[in-house]
């Protein structure tokens, strides 16, 4: 076992005028350290393509995760996919990236643009073995993983972006590589990277994509623990116990909440220095406390973090906000979404009497809901979450 893990994210844009995507990404976790990712691109666009790609990715990911061979997967697909009545063929291209033990990756590619691997901020050309399965030419590679490896799988909608509009022959592979190399060292998550890539495609298509375009990115990174303290304990006598447990944990420490940070300041015997810098944002200012990486206000800030988290999992339209702003919520987002892989929540259940006012939108049940919903969102991002209540 090593200390690596895979951060997986993808984003699609749809063929102009279609309501369904003809590309499909399916991710199956085989066990804690092994994952099968399949990106399938169905023939055509719309409903038919969507059915073909969904079936293909689902069948392959399930079979691969169950340990079956690629030959069996391919022949199963060939004999089960519905045949298109217009074209007389059943066809969906696919890319499989099988992460094993967070140590090696098997890449199996059929007719999709080949996976780009960026290692040490440069394009890394990996060896490929050609196989012939049922008349299909399939390429297989096995790659030993390194920290900061970035695998970029795409549907052909990406290199075709801009054909006839900006470029004669679309967005060339070399240019995509150059574009992604420049982004590889910025600490972006795989979801953000795939969003930036697909957004660029959308621009090249002039906002009216001529094909479904999908990017699925896997970033190999070190595990990074992070601890977040939210709210004072329900029993005053538990303050010291809560603080010593919190500060004994490895990794960065975030504290949300005014009263909570005052308790922490007392525990650490260090002054708490709230800033008056509003960072042109409607989120309350942050504070400084020696020994703590980030101190923010509580409910309002965390509520905004939850909004960003929901958007991140959905359309990821707000990433520019939390990626570049410097308010408390944006800073928490960068720490939790980008840096952390294992997050420990320390949640205090004290009821702030001043907040139990019907005029204020911040009562106790809202606070508890925030924690539950935020931890659910972070789990969906692939983080390991532990929540302890005090």
């Amino acid at each position: 076992m090593n200390n690596l893990c895979a951060d997986i994210g993808y984003k699609s844009i749809y063929h102009y005028g279609e309501e369904l995507c003809g590309d499909h990404v399916d991710i199956v976790e085989q066990d804690e350290n092994s994952t099968v990712v399949v990106l399938a691109d169905g023939l055509g666009s719309g409903v038919k393509a969507s059915i073909l790609s969904t079936l293909t990715s689902k069948i392959i990911s399930t079979m691969m995760a169950a340990g079956l061979s690629i030959e069996e997967c391919v022949s199963t697909i060939a004999s089960t996919l519905p045949v298109c009545s217009v074209r007389g063929v059943a066809y969906s291209t696919f890319t499989i990236i099988h992460i094993k033990n967070n140590d090696t990756a098997d890449i199996i590619q059929y007719d999709n643009p080949h996976v780009i691997l960026i290692r040490n901020n440069e394009n890394y050309v990996y060896p490929e073995m050609e196989m012939n399965i049922d008349g299909k030419r399939i390429y297989k590679s096995t790659i030993k993983l390194c920290e900061n490896d970035i695998f970029i799988a795409m549907s052909d909608g990406c290199p075709h972006a801009g054909i006839g509009i900006g470029y004669n022959f679309g967005w060339k592979r070399e240019e995509i590589i150059e574009f992604m190399e420049a982004l590889s060292n910025c600490g972006y998550t795989s979801k953000t990277l795939s969003t930036i890539l697909v957004d660029e495609c959308n621009k090249l298509y002039g906002g009216e994509p001529g094909d479904d375009a999908t990017a699925c990115i896997i970033k190999i990174r070190k595990r990074e623990p992070m601890n977040i303290l939210f709210g004072p304990p329900s029993n005053r006598n538990d303050c010291n116990r809560m603080m010593s447990l919190f500060f004994s944990k490895e990794g960065k420490h975030i504290i949300c909440g005014g009263t909570t940070s005052s308790i922490a300041a007392k525990f650490l015997r260090r002054p708490l220095r709230p800033s008056l810098n509003f960072e042109s944002s409607d989120i309350p200012p942050i504070a400084e406390l020696e020994g703590v990486d980030l101190v923010t206000e509580g409910v309002i800030t965390v509520n905004r973090v939850l909004e960003y988290a929901r958007d991140y999992l959905d359309k990821n339209e707000c990433y520019e906000k939390w990626n570049f702003k410097r308010d408390g919520a944006a800073l928490i987002c960068r720490l939790l979404f980008e840096e952390a892989t294992d997050i420990n929540f320390f949640v205090g259940r004290a009821i702030n009497p001043a907040h139990q006012n019907p005029d204020l939108p911040i009562n106790f049940s809202i606070k508890m809901n925030l924690v539950e919903e935020l931890s659910a969102c972070l789990k969906k991002m692939g983080k390991r979450i532990k929540v302890s209540y005090f």
Partner: protein, 79 residues
């Protein structure tokens, strides 16, 4: 003189940001920046009376609409 404005959740909702910004403006407009130190603090435990402001150790309840009045009587009058 030290003026501390609460920037906790409750006071934030009641407009502490506007109070801080108005005070920052008034302090520089009246050229008293060398005499008045403006700072922030988290919850003072007096949320019902927010926005909570302390002038040295004296407590004031201020709203965004009463900042000017507070500045005249609570700060300027005592310099």
């Amino acid at each position: 003189m030290k003026v501390t404005v609460c920037i906790g959740s409750s006071c934030h909702i009641k407009g502490s940001r506007s109070v801080v910004e108005q005070l920052q403006y008034l302090i520089s407009d009246n050229n008293v920046g060398d005499k008045v130190e403006l700072g922030g603090t988290f919850c003072m435990g007096n949320c019902q009376k927010g926005v909570c402001v302390n002038v040295d150790d004296e407590f004031y309840s201020v709203t965004p609409d009463t900042v000017k009045e507070f500045f005249e009587t609570g700060i300027m009058a005592k310099l």
